[in-house]
Amino acid sequence: MPKDTGIGASTVRREDVRFLTGTGEYTDDIVLAKQTYAVFARSTVAHGTIKSIDTSAAEAMPGVLAVFTGEDFVEVGGNPAGWLINSRDGEPMKEPKRPVLAHGKVRHVGDAYAAVIAETIEQARDAVEAIEADIDELPAVVDMNDALSGSNFVHDEIETNQCFDWGWIEDNREATDNAIKNAHHVTTLELVNNRLVPNAMEPRASIGSYKASTGEYTLHTTSQNPHLTRLLISAFVLGIPENMLTVIAPDVGGGFGSKIYHYGEEALVLAAAKKLGRPVKWTADRTESFLTDAHGRDHVTKIELALDAEGNFLAFRTDTKANVGAYLSNFSTATPTFLHGTLMAGNYTVPLVYVNVKAVFTNTAPVDAYRGAGRPEATYSLERVIDKAARELGMDPIELRRKNFIKPDQYPYASAAGLEYDAGNYDALMDKMEEVADVAGFEARRQASEAKGLLRGFGVNAYIEACGIAPSNLVGVLGSRVGLYDAATVRVNATGNLSVMVGAHSHGQGHETAFPQVVAEMLGIDPAVIDIVHGDTSKIPFGMGTYGSRSLAVCGSAVVRATEKIINKAKKIAGHMLEASEHDITLSDGVFSVDGTDKSVTFGEVALKAYIPHEYPLEDIEPGLEETAFYDPANFTYPSGAYACEVEVDPDTGKVRVDRMTAVDDFGNVINPMIVTGQVHGGLAQGIGQALVENTSYDENGQLLSASYMDYTMPRADDMPMFAVDHSQGTLCTHNPLGVKGCGEAGAIGSPPTVVNAVIDALQSGGRNVTHIDMPVTPARVWDAMQNAK
């Protein structure tokens, strides 16, 4: 029977009530006394030299309080890259400065070169129009091949558009080349992982404020990790002492990666607030979001798979160009490397992997982690080429995968791409997928589609991802400039209710409901008396935020550790109250009792005693009941899954419809199945969106053609089927206290290759030999592929 409280219960979300009644508080909803408004002047050309900027007319406009340009920020720092990548020759990556406002050159359409602060947003908008910027347009660098071969540089000072040329694992290069040269069969595929815009429904927004009497700054901002934003602003950009800056991320309307990073607008509103002595608010409109939010994916890859005569995988070799855009966003160098190359062995016992990634600067918006970040790119390449190999060898795609799966008795398993997988059971996932997706019934459904004149295809995929980002020791070796632990404080108040301060940030994930389930289970108390505090650097100990499916695996583990400390101390207090040794005290259902006696005190009585310490052994126990823990994991967690998709293709129009989508995932232990299922649903929709409809398109001049919802196709309700989601086959993570793995990105990782494999299967019918279509698989592309394959 499903539980109705604690770990494993599908508790409905307490945060829903405020969102359903319109009383959530998102950044743009906040009104600070005497607030002013910032509007940015943004480049309309992709590449240009700033000759001069005349702000005098703008400054004279009604309501205008200040105008800033890049000149005002030459003395301060820049927005840094969080991850140092070394090229194959040992050279460190190229790191051009990313200033608060463009200075000298503009480098992509939307690059901000000035900002107006005014009494009203309309006045600020009008004044931006009056700024006279003399910008000499330069030829734009858009195509990655042109960028690497030409001498037109996005950043003149580095005299190249190549950020790095990375090899993984460099020591395997020769052996991999030889394995491919000598193999019985090699399957090759060239593919594009299409550029996406994350499109959280809440546009980015920030309010800076400053208190002259104390020198304190406050930034309200749409962030997935307020502490990292504070750290970057303090240590790298503005130099505000960390203890003088509070960053608050209130309710945040989705992130999907795009709100991990620090952006220049945040620094601008803080600097402007100090200058004016009044709060300064900026809210992006959707066009600005398209132009300036960090985009995702944008890889061009050639992958080769070498196999022996029996279908055993011998080696994977990939050659990838990864677009990083005009500037390095905070994690943009980690995404195509350590979040991608290290997963290139997939779920398989392949002995050799070699990955080469060249990161390329272009005159486009910065590209960084988007839901899955590197792992969708790895999975897509692997799972597409495996399907193609199966077809070339005349093998069943499920059987070929099973043949090469790591088996349950092989853990811990050292993958050929350098990770140590701790637990999994890929055959069990595949078995379950075959059952849930009713693979046996496919043929009958195919015939039914055919009778309607439609082509039906079946696609499958197996994935593994590295989540719970991440062990600081490991990422330190890999080039990370930050630690990736997390922290939590459990505060038991005198009256017995609890505040749990967490470093993770909830922007849709339901932490306010799920974290209390964990604490309540451990203490045996009602979750309703436990509140989660998140998103405010002045209230929580520290944190590295929410991304990489890390909240529960890393921050949840910190919550467990802090709660364990609470239990230990509470047992001491109970022992004192009951005149027994703390070692003889057992906590069960919220009651501390002395083993073998009927003496007991409740959790609430212990809490009260901690704060009213009359007759209290002060030499042994401090008053109060509050504990903090920092948790740094020993390894990544490794969620995995088996997905299936059935599509119907209309041969007359090329239109693809997803009819059935099945996701069977191993997330380890599941705290709230309802929330986990919802996370998978959202990921599936983003993955199906990538596969079928979403695309970010720049023209050869670097103009973004898809800068609105009229041009960038978002998946809508009528593009989606009902999903079948299962997480019954969990194997426990072996190294964190809850045995959890993380579920936020899985759907977006597993679904794109599944959908495209299904489309190709459909297009194989009727004697056509379509072997490849790039995403998004639009009707036009399907039509072309069918005509070319005739």
Binding site: L20, D28, D29, G254, G683, R716, M720
Partner: protein
Amino acid sequence: MTKVTMTVNGKAVSGDVEGRTLLSSFLREDQGLTGTHVGCDTSQCGACVVHVDGAAVKACTMLAAEADGAEVNTIEGQANADGSLNVIQQAFQDHHGLQCGFCTPGMVMSAAALLKDNPKPSEQEVRDYLEGNICRCTGYHNIVKAIMAASGQDVPAMAAE
């Protein structure tokens, strides 16, 4: 500046607006009703849906001056008189029809308009009706389920969950 007067969630309100002031801005900034969200600038996302004289309207596509004299209802006025969630809101909570909550006010207002016209929609009718509401979080599955449940219907999943 022109003076506009309207009824918002049953209360008479008035304010001075510029000709260009959108109904969404009037509600959010003048009235402090920030439950109506703005997610785009091309009338595509539906985060701003409110009811004007009983019909679902994207508040970002209507001028405040055009709503002069109208009866406007927003997400803030949807709960039952005792403050409890109404049937649609409750169905969204019960079926996890929201994650970040940003699209949610528009979804709830659209769902209410749909069910008023079509009390027992099919799954396909629900999906078609939501064409103007974008959600990036839920994949729509649980939104569709919630709206079906609010209409007293179950929606068969593709397979057991």
